[in-house]
Structure formats: structure tokens, C-alpha cells
Amino acid sequence: MSASMGMGGSRERAGRRSWLGALAGLVCVAGAVGCKQEEQALTALLAGAQDLAVVGDLLFVLSSDRSELRVLDLATDEKQSVRAQPIRAPNPLEPLAIALRERPGAMVADVGFSDVEQEDGSTVVGGRYSAGSYLYVTSPGGAGISIIGAARNSLVELMRLPTAAPVTAVAGRSLGDAGASSLYCATFDGSVAELWEIPLPAPDALVASSAEAIRAGGRKLAVTFSGESVSALAPLPGNRLAFSTRALAGVGGRTEILDLASGARVTAAFPGPVRQLLTHPAGGGLAAGARLFGLLDERGCQPGQLCGGVMAVESATGAVVADASGAPMLPIRWGGALVRGLAIAPSIQLTLGAEATTQPLVGAATLSNGEFFLFDAVALRHFDFDSRVGGVQRDNVTYREAVEAGQTDGRVRPYVGGPIVDDPATPDVDENTIVGGDGAVRDEVISVVYQGQIPGLIDLSTSDADGVRFRAPGAVAARAKLGDLVVTAGCELPVTAIDADGVLVASVVGCSGRERFSVRATGGQPFVVAGTFSGYLGRVGPLESFSYQGNYVAHLAGFSAASPAPQLAFKMGALDPEIRRDFHYLLPMFSGFSPFVGYVDQRVGGLVHLPLGVAFDSHWSNPSRQGLFMAFPSDDSGGDVVIHIPTASIVRGGNALNILPYR
């Protein structure tokens, strides 16, 4: 089947003739001529691709630098080409470019929800998810919205709708088969934000109307915004609309769900401000739009904190959704990277084990570190490729002497005292006391150091002018205990008091000329416990139990919300009589957690660095044609590319097989 036949077929499927028929006919007839003349694939010319949207069997690619949209035909017959072909321009030798009047910054497509009749006679309101007639494109600071036809016979900018102030967020709801939509937009004039609902007729009627008339038909929604702008919008089933705000200055923001008929509002219990909202199609027993997904805003994030990520609330109540463990879900994130793009699709083939299986609802997120991850959007957690329960690599626990100059670690000693593990000589007796909560324990090495320096109280500045005070932030000063030793200027001074400004000693006589100081643990809890990733965890003494609750990064199988295991716990043995300062125990921990994180191998994609837009091509009944598209924006000197990976071929780590780059 040729591309032209495929397009003709699609035209028939559209089943509608319109004023745009002339344009569509020109495209298709010209396309037929072009296809007979050339077997070669047409280059899509996707320079500056930033954002992606799948509407039906079309992939829209937003190019900000060229101020245009390109369109890939996902219905391209695989016998003709394994690649999705670009929709052709009226001149069939050229790919279609939908010109935009201003440099675009964002693009969203209509989503629709229709009621589903159940076999038992009940109705799921808005349970079915569908595409609509339009795409909406906005520009930075632009007081207007470009309304683009999303059907094959209307691939043009149908209207430039002016707004009273620059648009900060936009969304659209398809109202059904008649082709009408509701457009929602938020504006911000620098001090006041407003939220509008604007009815749009079907494309034929839209182009027959004036922009002024369409705008005049809109209504300002009765929501007051004070000291905030609107950052995101998402239509929800049941004629509801979710909106998120961003506080002017500060780091605040809120998300609410507005009933457009009654005006009632429900607070969405996201743990912080949200910068993007998204709903989902039906899948995994969930009706379309049952959950409202949000990308958490990292605006207030501090170094060392894990922030951002994907969260979901129940769209009916606004409550944080319980994940597969039954506990409120945790943000789905990966390391310190920011989530850039997010897509969710049903019935996706993934290879999680030996063979590909169908996952009912899958999320894909592109990351600022160049990677992407896939997650289970029903269970609301990462896929986990590591079936082990996290804990300690008990065979590799060691007891070592102090690190000497020029060494990377101390000499290994016979294991005496310390956190109790098996004695390799009696493997039938399980004496291991070292446990790590699966989903909380990290891949890191825990050190338990005798009379160790206390993290946060190492090599701090001081001077004689401070007298008996050694200054440190109160939070870290609290790690010290009375009797610990301040080491400075050749002196070791017992700590006699601790307050919010540091630690104090009784006397500094004979310790003049001091510039730096550290604090060492002594007394009843002379062991300092710290992780290479987690940092300071606490202190412990001989024969004591140690426990650090920590924070879970994932609720993995076996997690108990009622009694969550601590990140790290162990029991200490008796003190080694020969122990010396800085002798230490090393506990190599493993998380037992291996999420579905991948990246595109640069040898395949060229200079692909930072993915942005992401979209699933999930409409195929043949799952082998399902794919994940990712946009890698770059500059004109190369590397502009959209990557397609069949979902069943996606692997953790570097992806190099079966990838189709589009340029």
C-alpha cells in the first residue's frame, strides 16, 4: 500500500466532507503523484523539534525555532516503509509545515471523555478518552492562541484567537463527535491572572466565524487568583477542570479541581506546587481521567534534596492516590534529574522479563540528565528489575584500621565487634542484624567509625576571638554530645555545652592560633554512622541497637505501610579491646531497586543530549508497532532529531537497537 492510498483510506475514515476538502484533496492527489515518482522516504525536516503530541494516528512535532508544526503519519503502511512518513505539503515533494505566526512555546491537544455503559447497566462518567478537533499553540508572552486543525483534512492554523493578556496555560476538551471543543486558557497581565472557558464550534464553523465573535462567546471562570499565576490546566471528566498556580515570588502554589457547572472546587493534595498537569486514557481498570497526574515544581528545591517527580491524585476527591502497597504514593523520580516531558498510554508492550508483556497503563518521563524512565501508572511506582530485597552485602562487610596517608582505605582486620553479621565460619547460624528497608536502603557504603569525625563538624573555621565557643550551625551542632572532643590547634578539648550556635568547651588555654576545628565522637556512643550517599545517619555505642528511619524512594513489593522498615538498622557487638581511633566497619548496602531508566545511545541518535517532548504511539492493534517518540531539541548545526523506539525494544541503560531517528 502506498502512502497515498493510506492517506486516502484515512480520508475515508474521517467520513466528513468540509470546506477543507479542497485542501485535503490537493494534498492527497498531489501526494499520490509524488509517491509514484519516488520510493525514497521524504525527510521530515524536524529542525528544532521540542514538543510532541499524538492525535489519532498523527504525530505533531512542534518546532519553536522554525515557528511551525510538522506532522508524521503514524498510519504509514509498514510494507511501504518502517518509518512514519511526513504528511506532504500541497507540493508533494515537500513535507507539510503548518506555519505559525509567532515563535511557539507550548502545544496541547484536545482530550475528550465520553460516558461508558457497563454490562451491568451502570455508567462510568467520562470513562472513555478520545482525541478532538484541535491543537492549541501558545507563544512566550503572546496574547493569543493559535488553533490548529488536528484532523487530516484540516492541518492548518484555523484561527489566531486573541486574548486580553499573555497566556500562561491552555487546555482543550473535545465535546464529542460533532467536532466542537471547549478551550480553557489562563492569562496573566503581570499582576492579575484570569481563567477563561471559550466554546469552539467544529472546524467548519470555526473558520466561518470571526476571532472576535469566538472570543466574545467565552466566559471568565469565577476563580480568584491573588498573587499567583496559573501554571497548568487539565480537563477532567464530568465537566471539571484542574488548574495549578505558581506564587509570585516565594515557592508556593496550589492545585484545585473546579466543577465547571457548579463552581465547586476541591483541593488536589499534591505535596507542593505543580508545573504540569496530565490525565490519562482508560487502562488497568481505571476509567479515563480517574487520576490527575502532576509534575511537581522544583522551584524551592535545595541542594541535596530529592525534589520534583510525578505524583497523582484521585480526580474525584483530590486525595493522593494509594499505590500498589496501599500507602499514599511517593513521587516517581530518578536521582537529581528534573522531569522534562511526561506521557501516559494504555496497553503498552514492554520487555520487563524474558518476553514482552502488555502493561495496562504506562508512563514515560524524559529527564534533564539525558535519560528517560518508564513507570507503572496503575501501581504508581517504578518498574523494578531487581527482585532482591535490599540490604547488606553480608559477605563484604569488613572491619578496617584507620586510613593511613597515601591509602584509600585502612588495612582489613579480623572482624571483631561492630554491627553483627554472620560468622562465615558458622554459616548455618544466621546472626546478621543488619537490615535495610526495601525501597529505602540506598546503593551505598555505610561506615561505622570509632571516635570518628562527625559529618558537618569537620574542618570548620574558628579563631581565637571566639573564645570557648566553636561555631557551627545548630542542626549539625546537635550531633555532638557532651564529652566529645573538639580538635583544634594541636589541642583536644572536651565539649561542655551545645547550643544553636555551636559547641563550647571549658577552656582554650594553650590552644591559641586556631583557624580550623573538627569534633570527634567519644563517650557512650563513640561510633559515627554515615553513608556515602545518605551522609550522617547517627551514632551508636557498643551493644546498642542502631536505627535510622530515612525516607523511602519507592514502595516496593512487601512494603508495609503499617510498620515501614527503617532505611538502616543493626545491633552492635561488644567493643574490640584493640580498637583505635578511626578503626571502622564498612557495610556495603544494595537497594534491591532497579528502575526502568534508559537513554538513547549517541552512536545512534547523533548529538542527542537532552530529551524534551515525549509521546506514545499506542494506537496500533499490532503491538510490535507501538513506539515511544522523544524529541531532542538542538541547534541548527546538527542533532535536531526525534527518536522512535518500539516499546517492546526499550531496554534499561543505553538503547541502540531498532531506533528510528527522524530529522
Partner: protein, 456 residues
């Protein structure tokens, strides 16, 4: 000394091929110096003489009050006429308001000095100097500028390759280190500490392409002399731009080899204390260009390339500061320099020049997105200077922004009449005659400039 006297005795025009006295030529660095309430102040523009058509580059000082009084430069906040922003082809450069510098000038920054400023201009021609010029401020209708040698300032300031052949002790220096070839970026602290970045790797021995080093060069701007201690080694790569805070200087990295560090931090009190925050591990762009700090130093804005991205970082603590990337905003093609307009009680506005797109964009941290793009600013928009001022409507503050266009030889003037409404940013004028027909002789721009009589 003799050379200096000779130069002082000669006016700029006594050379066979001096740069134009009334126009910019491949302008790069730009600085605005305020001159008291009610005054438009002075604008200083460095011309890089990029194709070496002339013997030198230049710095031209413009007394902006003159340009406004003549009616050529619109008053701040005025509406743009229907015919479009005017072009001032005649700049009325006053006497003593042009100084020669080396070719291939990069950025320019200022150190307040009396009613005027001392200007620092890194140059990449022979000598790899940081030309140092003094601008006493606009007086008697002229924005004079010069150096100890009068207006011949190409040899002013220290050479960053001074120790390449002979060390500071005069002995041969086979390592060729330290040196900082290709100086480009400059950041000046209010107390006079000056930091210079450089685009070319310092290999050792010179020319070997081995043992490549990157430096940040620190100078006392009041006494800009160079010693070995002026060179702060940053490991490999190259440095692009530098933002100077109260305790640390933040140097961005350009892609050479190895891959660039997005930013490296140098302690101002202990300059050889260098911090590597490894931001590139959490935010992956190929290289970084401009950088700017918010006035409270709690935010750092870095312009990344490939893809063009404004990377917003939270800065926590001051000694040492720690960084966290919290947002990435896609930018138009060829993003370059960045300036911050802090707003009391509100989030920052961040202005970015985009060379390939020929535009200037404004990011609003309150909205978390770009809120304005001023297009058709010119060809290869590069440097940015800001004149903060009372808002045009008298409520709050506004800003006039000057953007150099390397490709057409002009300076674009952009007004944000009120910082509370950054979407109202607009191009209001272009300064200088165009040299676009030299860079794009067959372009429509060239034809249009010729038709309008706006060519040099």
C-alpha cells in the same frame, strides 16, 4: 614608555586604516553607565573588528542624553511608530569618545569609578590582552573614554599570555604555563576584583595539544597587573563567562575537550579554592555560555547550548555555596548572554540574547516561563547592557536594554516600560549604521538597509 608617549601624541585617525569613528563594527561588549537622576547616562560599545578590515577594534562612548535630545533615540517607554523602530545612523560621537582597542573584543564589564567607570575588555587578537579603559562619564555632551595612552588603548591592560615564553622571573618557560589564551568573558565585583575567562585551551608545551588546562584569571581592577598567582587553575576544558558574587565567582564552561563543566566556582577570598558542583550530571547540555546571579545570590541563571536552555539553579549558603538545578527553559537558537532584573517582592526577570534567532527573550520567574520574545533585534545578537530606571508610567521600575548585533554592526534598544509587565518589552530603536552588506551582501536585509540609506 616611549611607545606610550608616541601613542598619546597621535590621534586615532593617524593610523592608515582606523576603525570608523561614527559606527560600530562587529560590536560585542556593551556597558551602560548611569549619570545621575534624569540622565540617560552613557553607553560604551566595543567593536571587535571581527574580519580585521581595520587595524583595530574600538570602544565608542555615547552620551545618550544627546541622542534623546536630538529626537533620534525615543524617550523611554514611548510608543513605537507605525513605520517601525527608527535607526540612528549618525551617532554623533563626541570628541574623545572613541578609543582603539585590540581586535576580537569579547564581553565588557565595568568598575564604578567616581562619576564614571573603568572598563575591562578581553580581546583575542595578538597579545590576548584585557584592555583597560577609563570612562569619566558623560560631560559636555560627550562620553569620553581613554587610557594612559590617550585613545590608543590596544596595548593597555595585561596580556594573559605574558608568561608563555618567559616566566615572571624572566627565565625561559618551556611549559608555557600559566596562560589564558582567547580571553573572552569578564566579571567585575564592586570591590574591584576582576575575573577573566578564556576560550582556548592552554596546552603544555604550547602547540602540543597536550596537558590542556583552563584558568580563571583574577585581577585587581584598580591595579590590573598580572602575576602567576593571578591564574586560577580549573582543570581541563575552557571557560566562557563569569558571574561574580559576594564570596564566589561562577565560571561557565565551553565545550572543547573534555566535555564542558557547566559551572565551576572560585572562592574570592581564597582564589585557588575551586569547587566543582557537577551540575552537568543532573542537567545535560553540551556547554554553557552566559551566567548571572540574582541580586540576593539565591538564584544562578546559566545559558546552556545544545540544546539552547536557560538553566535555573538554586544557590544555598554562601561559603561554600551549593547549587541545585530547578528548572530548564528552552530558548531560541544561539542563546548567549544573560542579565538579571531583580524585582523587590517579585521573582526575577531574566533577559537572554539569542544570536542565531536574532532575538532577546525575557524569562519571568514568577510565571516559570518565557514571557516575551523581542524578534528582529538584529543579526547575531550578542552583548546585553541594562539601564534600570523608574517605570515609564511612574509606578515601579522599568528598564532599557541595549543589545549588540555582531552581524549587522548595530545596537538594538529594547524598552520594558514596567518590570511588572515584561510582556510589553519592545524594540524601540537601532543605533548605528549597518554593515550587513559586508556580512550578507545578497540578503534582503542588505537590500533594505541600502534602500534606507542605513549602511556604513
Amino acid at each position: 614608555m616611549c611607545a606610550g608617549l608616541l601613542l598619546a601624541a597621535c590621534g586615532p585617525s593617524s593610523f592608515s586604516n582606523p576603525p570608523p569613528a561614527g559606527a560600530f563594527y562587529f560590536p560585542t561588549g556593551v556597558v551602560h553607565v548611569e549619570a545621575g537622576a534624569g540622565s540617560e547616562g552613557a553607553l560604551y560599545v566595543a567593536s571587535s573588528n571581527y574580519d580585521r578590515k581595520y587595524d583595530f577594534g574600538s570602544v565608542i562612548g555615547l552620551a545618550l542624553d544627546n541622542l534623546v535630545a536630538s529626537g533620534g533615540l525615543p524617550t523611554f517607554g514611548a510608543a513605537v511608530p507605525e513605520s517601525g523602530p527608527p535607526t540612528l545612523t549618525s551617532l554623533a560621537v563626541g570628541e574623545g569618545a572613541l578609543a582603539h582597542i585590540q581586535s576580537f573584543a569579547g564581553e565588557m564589564d565595568k568598575l564604578a569609578s567616581g562619576s564614571g567607570a573603568r572598563l575591562f575588555v578581553p580581546t583575542r587578537a595578538e597579545g590576548h590582552r584585557v584592555n583597560v579603559l577609563d570612562a569619566p562619564g558623560p560631560t559636555a555632551g560627550a562620553a569620553r573614554i581613554g587610557c594612559e595612552a590617550g585613545q590608543e588603548c590596544a596595548e593597555s591592560g595585561p596580556s594573559l599570555v605574558a608568561f608563555e615564553k618567559d616566566g615572571p622571573d624572566g627565565e625561559p618557560n618551556p611549559s608555557g604555563l600559566p596562560r589564558a589564551p582567547g580571553p573572552s568573558g569578564v566579571g567585575v565585583a564592586p570591590d574591584g576584583q576582576v575575573f577573566i575567562s578564556h576560550l582556548l585551551r592552554a596546552d603544555s608545551p604550547p602547540g602540543s595539544l597536550r596537558d590542556n588546562r583552563a584558568y580563571l584569571v583574577a585581577l585587581d581592577g584598580n591595579h590590573p597587573e598580572l602575576s602567576v598567582d593571578s591564574f586560577i587553575e580549573l582543570s581541563g576544558g575552557a571557560t566562557q563567562a563569569v558571574a561574580v558574587g559576594a564570596h564566589y565567582a561562577y565560571a561557565t564552561g565551553r565545550y572543547v575537550d573534555p566535555a564542558a563543566s557547566m559551572v565551576r566556582l572560585v572562592s574570592r577570598a581564597a582564589p585557588h579554592k575551586v569547587l566543582f558542583p557537577f551540575i552537568e550530571e543532573s542537567f545535560r547540555v553540551l556547554e554553557a555560555r552566559g551566567a548571572a546571579l540574582s541580586s540576593d545570590e539565591k538564584r544562578l541563571y546559566i545559558v546552556g547550548r545544545r540544546p539552547d536552555t536557560l538553566v535555573v539553579l538554586n544557590v544555598v549558603g554562601d561559603d561554600p555555596p551549593t547549587l541545585k538545578a530547578v528548572r530548564g527553559i528552552p530558548l531560541p537558537d544561539g542563546a548567549n548572554q544573560v542579565r538579571v532584573l531583580s524585582r523587590p517582592g517579585r521573582g526575577d526577570l531574566v533577559v537572554v540574547s539569542c544570536s542565531n534567532a536574532g532575538s532577546v527573550v525575557v524569562y519571568d520567574d514568577d510565571v516559570g516561563a518565557l514571557v516575551a520574545e523581542v524578534r528582529d533585534v538584529g543579526l547575531s545578537t550578542f552583548g546585553l547592557a541594562v539601564h534600570r530606571r523608574a517605570a515609564a508610567d511612574g509606578v515601579g521600575q522599568g528598564a532599557r536594554i541595549f543589545a549588540t548585533n555582531l552581524g549587522d554592526g548595530q545596537v538594538a534598544v529594547i524598552d520594558i516600560p514596567n518590570l511588572a509587565r515584561p510582556h510589553e518589552a519592545r524594540l524601540v530603536a537601532r543605533l548605528g549604521a549597518s554593515h550587513v552588506c559586508r556580512t550578507q551582501p545578497k540578503s534582503e536585509r542588505c537590500a533594505r538597509a541600502r534602500e534606507k540609506g542605513e549602511l556604513q
